[in-house]
């Protein structure tokens, strides 16, 4: 089993989700994050004082998948999340030694 983690632009979540559903992915877990990288942040001004914000909002997606699905999933995410502008984000894959579905106690692929 593997764990695919993707950091994407928030407004791309929908497209990513849909393309994953297209691959038969049944579930995923999402959370808000903020990213630091090549993409510039922005400036804020309050009563004349200027503040530089280097972090930009990102969405973090986690998907537990079967080994053989990893590549197509990574490809699907990259395709769906791409805008070709700086800050599109990253995808990485981490080994998962076991996955359990809490409701049933099922393990491995059955847990997905």
């Amino acid at each position: 089993m593997k764990l695919v983690v993707a950091i994407i632009k928030p407004f791309k979540l929908d497209e990513v989700k849909e393309s994953l559903e297209g691959l038969g992915i049944q579930g995923m877990t999402v959370s808000d994050a903020r990213g630091f990288g090549r993409q510039r942040g922005h400036t804020e001004v309050y009563r004349g004082a200027e503040y530089q914000v280097d972090f930009v909002p990102k969405t973090r997606i986690e998907i537990a998948v079967d080994d053989d699905q990893v590549d197509e999933i990574v490809k699907a995410i990259v395709t769906a999340a791409k805008t070709d502008s700086i800050g599109d984000g990253k995808v990485w894959v981490v080994p998962a030694e076991q996955v359990v579905r809490i409701r049933t106690g099922e393990k491995g692929a059955d847990a997905l």
Binding site: P10, F11, R34, G35, G48, A49, D54, F55, G87, G89
Partner: protein
């Protein structure tokens, strides 16, 4: 000068001014969080710019001695010159209160009317373009219509059309202007595809509460005294709001068996809009009927934008245009001379035995306002669009108005500490921090 009347109109003026921050919240709660400040700004800045414009030139066009054919006023009151605090308005508008009190009471109407329009093109208008648009609109659209309807020599006034507190002048006028403006500005990116849901309904409910509260000044203050007319206008106002809230809720309940909080708040506003022109002319039962009508009809009208495909962000057309028309026509139906004290011929609507006479005049007033305001606003919008520009750049729209137009964010609730500061002294611009950073996320912004 009667101190009781003067005190009441002063209090009413404060109430009407307070409606604009209320409107700011009502609108701001419905946009996405990345546009909350930009939306608040639309109302708040109007309090600044419109006040001054009104004093300088707007007032005299609306309430100066008639220049020609009841179309607009002479410039006698330019810069409020000749607006006395010791004597009433020469044309007898508010015979028991100082002229300046009448003028400042009207100033509050001139603030909120342009601000109402802003709800239609929320989330995509350029701030500079917005200022230009409402400024020109106040002088060339609002002021003349106010003259027609409210000045004793205004041609619609002389025609006998009734508008107690602004059904045509304020709501229809703002509502149709909103329609014209959004046809020029166009839809928000993603309209009809993406979900634009209210980001903070507590602001919207509070705003609706403030509007309801302030509307007592709007309508009952329009009696220009603390008298029986003010009393019945006050009563009608509360009942219009109440019935509107119930009407919208009932419509929702019929549709999917759930009344929504936003629906009830919207219904109250719709009811207030509908009762506005009628408030001094109808009794409690008439007020309840008009409010119900306003709530039910508007709850249906807000769906039109999806069907017809115009992007009226916060339903200014659905609530103010439609609600205003409902109220103006209903005035011709429910008006009762016994309440208003007008003589029967002028003050009785259809149900009070006045026949279709009054209703006919109301239709004319509505029609004329619709046409004039639509055409004139279209011209103003196109002019501004062609020069300063009305629409923000797409990336600015995606980023949100708060950051793109004002360099601010509304909320930094979960902010960490230890952020660096680019520079402190207001006027200096060079960075003082080698690696300036801030870990806060602009709420609702986008990467």
């Amino acid at each position: 000068m009667d101190t009781g009347d003067t005190g009441w109109v002063l209090a009413s003026s404060a109430l009407v001014l307070f409606m604009t921050p209320g409107l700011a919240l009502f609108y701001a709660g419905m946009v996405r969080s990345k546009n909350v400040l930009g939306t608040l700004m639309h109302s708040f800045f109007a309090m600044g710019a419109m006040s001054i414009l009104w004093v300088l030139v707007g007032y005299t066009i609306a309430f100066g001695p008639d220049a020609v054919g009841g179309l607009f006023g002479k410039l006698d009151f330019l810069g409020f010159s000749g607006v006395s605090s010791d004597a009433p308005h020469p044309a007898g508008l508010g015979a028991t209160i100082p002229h300046s009190v009448f003028a400042l009471f009207q100033m509050m109407f001139a603030i909120i009317t342009p601000a109402l329009i802003a709800g239609a093109f929320a989330e995509r208008i350029k701030f500079s373009g917005y200022i230009a648009f409402i400024s020109i609109w106040l002088v060339f659209v609002y002021a003349p219509v106010a003259h027609w309807v409210w000045h004793p020599e205004g041609w619609l006034f002389k025609l006998g059309a009734l508008d107690f507190a602004g059904g045509t002048v304020v709501h229809i006028n703002a509502g149709v202007a909103a329609l014209a403006a959004i046809l020029v500005i166009g839809k928000r990116r993603g309209f009809g595809k993406e979900a634009f849901v209210p980001h903070n309904l507590t602001l919207t409910i509070l705003g609706a509460g403030i509007l309801w509260f302030g509307w007592f000044g709007f309508n009952a203050g329009s009696a220009l005294g603390a008298n029986g007319l003010a009393a019945s206008a006050f009563l009608a106002t509360n009942l219009g709001a109440a019935a509107g809230a119930c009407g919208w809720a009932l419509a929702e309940a019929r549709k999917d068996r759930k009344a929504t909080t936003l629906g009830v708040a919207s219904g109250a506003v719709a009811g207030l809009v509908a009762i506005t022109p009628a408030s001094g002319f109808v009794g409690p039962m008439g007020a309840i009927a008009i409010g119900l009508l306003g709530g039910v009809v508007c709850s249906w009208a807000v769906g039109l934008k999806f069907r017809l495909g115009y992007d009226d962000s916060l339903d200014v057309v659905g609530v103010h245009l439609v609600g205003g028309v409902v109220g103006a026509l209903a005035t011709g139906i429910f008006a009762t001379a016994a309440i208003s004290g007008l003589d029967a011929s002028a003050g009785n609507g259809l149900l009070a035995g006045g026949g279709f006479a009054l209703l006919g005049k109301q239709v004319i007033a509505v029609g004329v306002t619709l046409i004039f305001s639509f055409v004139a606003t279209m011209a103003v919008a196109k002019l501004v669009d062609a020069t300063i520009g009305l629409r923000v750049a797409e990336t600015d729209e995606v980023t949100g108005l708060d950051l793109s137009q004002h360099q601010e964010v509304g909320y930094s609730l979960a902010e960490g500490s230890g952020l660096s500061i680019t520079h402190s002294a207001a006027p200096v611009h060079a960075s003082q921090a080698p690696h300036p950073t801030a870990v806060r996320v602009p709420q609702g912004g986008e990467a």
